[in-house]
């Protein structure tokens, strides 16, 4: 993948020659990213307005979905068009334990994530052999197969899906409070995703992934265990969508196949990663924030309400054609000094 690799090799150089300034700047960039996430959440808490909280929930949800996709797409260079399948399958599994088994939300979140990871492991072992567009096509196929399968799967309620009784929310202090709890959990998840993606990027594992992205065959020759590492990247990047799916459906109170496996949503997540800058930690967060704000502005403005999809499409086309490295990638390429701060 040639886009967004400007300076992507830099961590390698700094790892080889441990110099204090480089590490210092890495830390700065880490805290900058965390500060952005903190700010996004704090806005809703300070205002205490329900509409703003919902808006920020969606924003943080997409930010963390985009960040976890970035581990596969940006670091490893494998384009999963159907990544939302883990949001759906993990979400369904977690939700199943909440609605059918009466579990609390917290263990269900973990279960949702784990189920997604296990499925990713099984799928990844086979489809990660495919490269390029063949891989992308296979992920679309898996998403559609999963949607069709779940719509026929009895324990998950078939095509009508599952729902929870409102009394379930009582243990979280009533429905209104449960929405706030969901928001706080979403905020925490976003922090964890950012920390994990940062940690991966600055680790040996991350370097291995970056080398797979640049040239998988060369990486293999240099002793990177590419099959194992890319599978691990796939598993990690599937975990968080599973957790987020469980939380999202818990907050909504129901889940159905059409909601859980939306190709459109999957591609929107890719757009966010591209917009912000693939392969960077801050990029997907900024990309998700920008895209999400743009979308809700278009949806609510009188002028663009009906055409919001077309305007978003035009914006995407302009980015793909003229700024393929995304905002963060462009800044890094344009201003060399910024490369230290924008990890």
């Amino acid at each position: 993948m040639k886009v967004g690799n400007v300076g992507a090799v830099r961590p390698a150089a700094s790892a080889a020659v441990p110099s204090i300034p480089a590490r210092f700047w890495q830390r700065v960039s880490f805290w900058v990213t965390l500060a952005v996430v903190a700010l996004l959440g704090a806005v809703a808490i300070v205002s205490q307005r329900d509409t703003l909280r919902e808006a920020m929930f969606t924003l943080l949800m997409f930010a963390s979905l985009a960040s976890s996709l970035n581990i596969l797409l940006g670091y490893t260079g494998y384009v999963s068009f159907g990544h939302i399948v883990f949001f759906g399958l993990g979400g369904y599994s977690g939700f199943y334990f909440i609605s059918k088994q009466g579990w609390s939300i917290y263990p269900s979140l973990i279960v949702g994530g784990l189920v997604a990871s296990v499925i990713a492991l099984l799928i990844g072992l086979s489809i990660l052999r495919l490269r390029g567009a063949y891989f992308a096509l296979a992920t679309i196929g898996i998403l559609e197969a999963a949607r069709a399968f779940v719509a026929n799967f009895g324990p998950f309620g078939g095509s009508t899906g599952l729902s929870i009784n409102f009394s379930v929310y009582r243990q979280y202090g009533g429905p209104a409070q449960a929405l706030w709890t969901s928001f706080y959990i979403m905020w925490v998840i976003t922090f964890i995703v950012v920390i994990v993606s940062f940690y991966i990027k600055s680790s040996r594992f991350g370097l291995g992934l970056l080398s797979i992205r640049e040239d998988e065959d060369a990486a293999l020759v240099m002793g990177v265990n590419a099959p194992r590492w890319k599978t691990l990247a796939y598993v990690v990047s599937a975990f968080f969508p599973g957790v987020i799916g469980t939380l999202y459906f818990f907050k909504n109170g129901n889940v159905e196949p059409a909601d859980a496996f939306r190709l459109q949503m999957s591609i929107e997540t890719i757009v966010m990663v591209m917009l912000g800058g693939q392969g960077t930690v801050l990029g997907p967060i900024l990309g998700a924030a920008t895209y999400d704000r743009l979308r809700s502005y278009l949806l609510t403005s009188d002028l663009f309400k009906n055409l919001h999809l077309a305007v978003a499409g035009l914006a995407l086309l302009l980015i793909v054609l003229f700024v393929p490295a995304g905002v963060v990638g462009w800044l890094r390429g344009r201003f060399a000094q910024l490369r230290r701060v924008l990890e």
Binding site: V3, L130, L137, A145, A148, A310, G313, L317
Partner: protein, 286 residues
């Protein structure tokens, strides 16, 4: 029961021809320029509306209308190629995927605003043909016939004409073709135009027997992926065979299990073929 299965199988095969035309467009574009055209579905939907407006608005016979749809489709393909695809043709494949997806968003965005998402219907009938226990709606028979005709013409074009041979040469090895003096940009634009034309034709045929919305193309786009992989990505003639295989499956499966399992089997098969024989069951490119 056997008669029912037979009807369903024949129905499936008739549809399969039309699926084949849609998939030919997708797979031709893939074969020539290695681009997965994510605007394929919306273009199919535009073909459906083409038939609708020409028939309901101007009272034109749907099959005559197809000629007009073909011309408009060809031109639309040139435009889409020039605006969205040409710049990213040598970029990593994610760029072209997203560029065509952007086109798809624009078509669906404008389409939803102008045409809403409620279903449209072309009120056109050719009666039906009865053969023994079978009854085949005339429109499906005509669609299958038109599909075979289109496939035949495409074959003749690709193998017997100069521009067709140029397309195959570029598909085979663009660099070498350029060295032989083939203007590859023009050939790529032509291929994209033909791919778009085929999408429009498939849509125009489908509209004669199914109701549709601007979002209907998505289903056929996904089917085109499945068929493309079955018949060998980049092999337009294989796509027709792949279409028949898919149509046949759709006809047979409901005899054994609920019809809602059809997509599960289709997409599982799709992923399996990708894994085992990524070049497709029928092999290579044109």
């Amino acid at each position: 029961m056997p008669a029912q299965v037979l009807t369903s199988v024949v129905d499936g095969l008739m549809l399969g021809f039309v699926y084949g035309v849609a998939a030919m467009g997708m797979t031709l574009i893939w074969g020539v320029m290695r681009v997965i055209n994510l605007s394929h579905g919306p273009l199919i939907a535009l073909g459906m509306f083409g038939t609708y407006f020409l028939f309901t608005g101007l009272g034109l016979n749907p099959y005559l209308g197809l000629l007009l749809i073909a011309v408009v489709g060809l031109v639309a393909g040139f435009v889409i190629y020039g605006v969205a695809v040409h710049r990213v043709i040598n970029a990593p494949y994610l760029s072209s995927l997203l560029a065509t997806f952007a086109v798809s968003m624009m078509i669906i965005g404008v389409g939803t605003a102008a045409l809403s998402t409620s279903p449209f219907n072309v009120d056109f009938s050719l009666g039906s043909v009865a053969a023994g226990p079978l009854t085949i709606p005339g429109t499906r028979l005509m669609a299958a016939f038109a599909a075979v005709l289109v496939a035949g013409l495409l074959y003749l074009f690709l193998y017997r004409t100069k521009p067709g041979k140029a397309i195959r040469a570029v598909s085979n090895n663009r660099g070498a073709a350029e060295l032989m003096g083939i203007p590859s940009s023009r050939v790529l634009a032509l291929s994209f135009g033909i791919g778009t034309m085929l999408a429009g034709l498939a849509g125009g045929l489908i509209a004669t027997f199914f109701p549709f919305t601007i979002l209907s193309g998505e289903t056929y786009q996904l089917k085109s992926f499945v068929i493309g992989v079955l018949g060998g990505l980049g092999n337009p003639i294989g796509a027709l065979v792949g279409g028949l295989v898919l149509g046949l499956l759709e006809g047979i499966i409901p005899a054994f299990m609920p019809v809602s399992w059809v997509p599960v089997i289709e997409f599982a098969l799709f992923v399996l073929v990708l894994l085992i024989r990524p070049t497709g069951l029928l092999g290579g490119r044109a």
